[in-house]
C-alpha cells in the first residue's frame, strides 16, 4: 500500500512537470532577475540583502507605479552561493519578460567570474556593487561589468589608509605586520594583489591567511595569528566565516579593535552571534551603514503597511538590507536613465547598459530619492565603471555599528596601473579589442 501511494506521488510530481503554464505577461513590464541565497552557510548574509532588493522594487511598483509607468517584474532564483547553480539561474532567467533581463546581480564574486563572458555575449549588464572583478572597473575591456561604488582594490586601499591613520601616518606602516584572513575563493583572493602593491609601497609585512569554504573551521589560522602577532588583521569573510573569525579571535585573545573587516564582513549577523566578544570589531562601510533614512519611511509606508514586506519590519535598516536597497536603486536609476534615451518602455539589457554607463546621480537627486546621508554622488563613465571609491570605518559597540572615521577615498593613481595590467591581460587572453573610451559619446 505505501508503495502505491509513493508511486502515485511520483506520478503526480512528474505529471505536474509536464504541464507548462505560460503566465500571461503584460507587455509593459521590465523584467529584473534576482539571484539570491536564502539557504546554506551564506544565507545569514544573503537573505537580508535579497529582502532589501525585493522591497525596493516593490516600493517602486507600489509608490510610483513602476519606472515611469513601466512596472518592474521580478523573479528570484536560489543560488546557494554556488557557482554552478548561479549559472543555471542566470540561464533560466536571462530571457524572461518582454525584453529579457534588464541586468543581473549575482551577489557572488565566483558567479561574477563565471558570468562575465556570458553576459557580454548575451548583452546583459552585470552589476556587482562593492564586489566582483576589481579589473572590471575598466569599462573599455569590460563593457558589461559594473562594480559600482567600490572594488576590492579600493577596499584594500581604504583599509590600509585607516590603519595608517590609527598608527599616526603612512610612515608608521613601515615594519608593521598586517595579515589578511580571507575566504579562499575569488572573492577573498581579489584584494591580494593590491595589498601586495601597498605592502611594497609602505613597507609593511603582508601575510595572506586562507580559510576554506564555508569558514567554520579556523582554529589553525588563528593559532598562526597568535604566533605571528600581526599588528592588524583584515577580514575578507562572508557568511558564517565572519562570526566565526570574531569568536576565534576572542579565543586566542587577539584584540578585536585590531581587526578590520571588508564591507561584506561588517553587518549585524557577523557580530551578533559572537555576543560581547565582538565589541570593538571594526569594518569598512560601502558608503552607507545601518540606520533608517527617508527612503525607509516610504518602504514602511508603501510596502510594509500593505503587508507586502519581505522580512519583519524590525530588520528594515540593517546594513545588508540597506545595501540591497541601494543596489536596487542604482539599477532602477540606470533603467530610468536609459529610458531618457530609448523611451519609456521595457528596455533590453543592451539599452540598460547605456543607462548604467551614463548614470550620474547628483547630490540633489540622491536627496530626492531619499538616500540622503547614505550615498555620495556617483558618476559612471566608459573608463570608470566603479563611479566612486569612498568608504568609512564603523565599529561594533555591542548593540549597534558606530561610525568612527571620516571619509576615505581610495588612491586612484595607485590602483589604476594594476587595473590596466590585469584587464589588458584579460583582453589579450580573450583576443578582445578594447573599446576606445575617448571616442564614446
Amino acid at each position: 500500500m505505501p508503495s502505491i501511494a509513493c508511486n502515485a506521488l511520483i506520478l503526480a510530481t512528474v505529471a505536474s512537470g509536464v504541464v507548462v503554464s505560460a503566465p500571461a505577461a503584460a507587455q509593459n513590464e521590465q523584467f529584473i532577475p534576482i539571484l539570491s541565497y536564502r539557504t546554506g552557510p551564506y544565507a545569514v548574509n544573503g537573505a537580508p540583502y535579497a529582502n532589501g532588493v525585493v522591497d525596493y522594487y516593490n516600493l517602486i511598483n507600489e509608490r510610483d507605479g513602476g519606472i515611469n509607468g513601466v512596472k518592474i517584474l521580478v523573479e528570484e532564483c536560489e543560488t546557494g552561493y554556488a557557482t554552478d547553480k548561479g549559472v543555471e539561474c542566470y540561464e533560466r532567467l536571462k530571457s524572461k519578460g518582454p525584453t529579457g533581463a534588464a541586468f543581473i546581480n549575482p551577489l557572488s564574486t565566483g558567479i561574477t567570474f563565471a558570468l562575465t563572458e556570458k553576459t557580454a555575449t548575451d548583452k546583459i549588464p552585470i552589476i556587482t556593487m562593492g564586489y566582483g572583478r576589481a579589473d572590471s572597473k575598466n569599462g573599455a575591456v569590460f563593457p558589461y561589468n559594473f562594480p559600482l561604488l567600490g572594488t576590492y582594490w579600493s577596499a584594500a586601499d581604504i583599509a590600509i589608509q585607516h590603519v595608517a591613520k590609527e598608527l599616526g601616518g603612512f610612515d608608521k606602516l613601515k615594519g608593521k605586520k598586517i595579515s589578511l584572513l580571507y575566504h579562499d575563493s575569488p572573492y577573498g583572493k581579489e584584494p591580494i594583489p593590491m595589498l601586495q602593491v601597498l605592502a611594497q609601497k609602505y613597507g609593511f609585512e603582508f601575510t595572506p591567511i586562507p580559510v576554506t569554504h564555508p569558514g567554520v573551521e579556523q582554529k589553525s589560522q588563528w593559532l598562526a595569528i597568535r604566533q605571528n602577532r600581526p599588528d592588524y588583521v583584515l577580514v575578507w569573510g562572508w557568511g558564517v566565516m565572519n562570526s566565526t573569525a570574531v569568536k576565534e579571535a576572542a579565543a586566542v585573545a587577539y584584540p578585536r579593535e585590531k581587526m578590520i573587516g571588508v564591507w561584506w564582513s561588517g553587518a549585524e549577523p557577523d557580530v551578533t552571534p559572537a555576543g560581547d566578544q565582538a565589541i570593538g570589531y571594526k569594518s569598512l562601510m560601502l558608503q552607507h551603514g545601518a540606520g533608517k533614512f527617508p527612503v525607509h519611511a516610504d518602504i514602511e509606508k508603501y510596502v510594509y503597511a500593505k503587508g507586502k514586506g519581505s522580512t519583519d519590519s524590525g530588520k528594515v535598516g540593517e546594513v545588508l538590507y540597506n545595501r540591497g536597497v541601494v543596489n536596487a536603486m542604482l539599477g532602477v536609476e540606470a533603467i530610468r536613465k536609459a529610458q531618457e534615451k530609448f523611451g519609456q518602455k521595457p528596455l533590453t539589457g543592451e539599452q540598460v547598459r547605456w543607462g548604467l554607463e551614463n548614470l550620474n546621480l547628483s547630490e540633489a537627486r540622491i536627496k530626492e530619492l531619499g538616500f540622503d546621508g547614505m550615498l555620495k554622488p556617483i558618476k559612471i563613465s566608459c573608463s570608470d565603471h566603479e563611479g566612486t571609491r569612498d568608504g568609512r570605518v564603523q565599529q561594533w559597540d555591542g548593540k549597534s555599528w558606530k561610525i568612527i572615521s571620516d571619509w576615505y577615498t581610495a588612491d586612484e593613481p595607485l590602483i589604476d596601473p594594476l587595473v590596466r595590467d590585469v584587464s589588458a591581460k584579460y583582453a589579450a587572453d580573450k583576443k578582445a579589442q578594447p573599446r576606445e573610451c575617448s571616442k564614446e559619446s
Binding site: 505536474s16 539557504t39 523573479e75 536560489e78 557557482t83 554552478d84 533560466r92 572583478r133 583572493k189 580573450k430
Partner: protein, 375 residues
Amino acid sequence: MLYREAGQFKTTYVEDMAIFPIRQDRIALAVLLGIAFIGVPLLATFHIWPFGSDYLLWAILLPFLILALAAIGTNILVGYCGQISLGSGAFMAIGAYSAYKLVTGVHIPLAWLGCAISIPPLSVLASILLGGLIAAGVGILFGIPSLRIKGLYLAVATLAAQFFFDWAFLRIPWFTNYAPSGSVNAPELNFFGLIVQSPIERYLLCLLLVTLMALLAKNLVRGNLGRQWMAIRDMDIAAELIGIRPLYAKLTAFAVSSFIIGVAGALWAFVYLGSWEPLAFSIDRSLQLLFMVIIGGLGSIMGSFVGAAFILIVPIMLNLIPAELGVPLSTETIAHFEFIIFGSLICYLLIKEPHGFARLISIGKEKLRLWPFPY
C-alpha cells in the same frame, strides 16, 4: 511482441559479436542518436519549443553530457573494476588545468641546469586530449596503492588525491598562470579554424566527444580488458588464480577511467564553465559522480547517462515546477522542498532497486520481451 529477438539469426561471428546484437536495440540507439545529432540542433536553430531560449541547451543538456562522460569514467573504475574512488573531481580538475596550461603554453625554467622546458601553446583539441592523458598518468600514480589496499580503505586513499589536488590548484599559482583571483578563463574554442561559440555548437562538440568515448568505453568493457576488470571486481584472488595480473588490470582501469574523467573535466571547464576556480572540482563533484554511478547502476554505460540525468536534472525540475505552476512559494521554501523530495526519491529508489536504473532498464527489457503475454 515488439521487442523480441526471435527470428534474428546471426550467421557470422561479426554479427554475433556486435555491440548491440538485438535489432530493436540498434534501432532505438539510432533513433536516439538521430534525435541528439539532428533533431535537437534543428529544433534549436528554429527556436521551437522547448528550445525557445538557450536554457535547455546551456543549463541542462551541456552539463548533462559532460557529467555523463565523467560518470562513464567513474563507472569504469568503480562499477567495472570495483575500485571505489572518491577522487573523480580531482581527476576532472587535472584534466581541466593541464588542458589550460597546455593551451596557454608551458614554461618551466630549470635554473640549476641552465635550460628550460618550453611547450608552445597547443591547439584546443590537442590540449583537451593531452589533458586527459595527463589525468590518466596521475590516475595510474594514485592507483598504485590499490594493489595493496582495498574497498573503503582505497576510497580514503583516493580522497587524499582529491584533497591534494584541491590544494595544489588553489595554492600553486603556476597552475593558474598567476591569476590574481585564482580564477582562470578558458581560451577561444578554435577547432581547426572552426570557432565553437554558440550553445548549439558547444552542444554538438560535446555530443560528438561523448558519443565517441561512450562507444570506446562500451567496446572496452566487453573485450579482454573489461573482462579482466570485472574478474578483479568479482573476486580478485580467483582472478589472480586464473591468470589475470591485478597490477595490469587495476592500473589500466585507473588509466582509462582517469583519461575519460580528465577529458570530461577539460570540457567542463572549457566548454561549459568558461571561467572556473578549483571549487568547481571539489569533493562535492566527486561525490556527485559517485552517486550518479550508484543510482545509474554500477557496471553499466547506459546507467551512467541515466544516473547523470537523474542527479543533475531532477533537482532542477523540482525547483522549476512550483514557478511553472504558479504556486506562490518563496525561493527558500522551494529550495528546502527540493532537498526533501530529491532525498526521498533517492531513498525510495535505492530501497526499491538497489542496483540502480540500469537494473530497472534490464527488467523493463525482460518484461517487454514477454509483453503482451507474460507468464
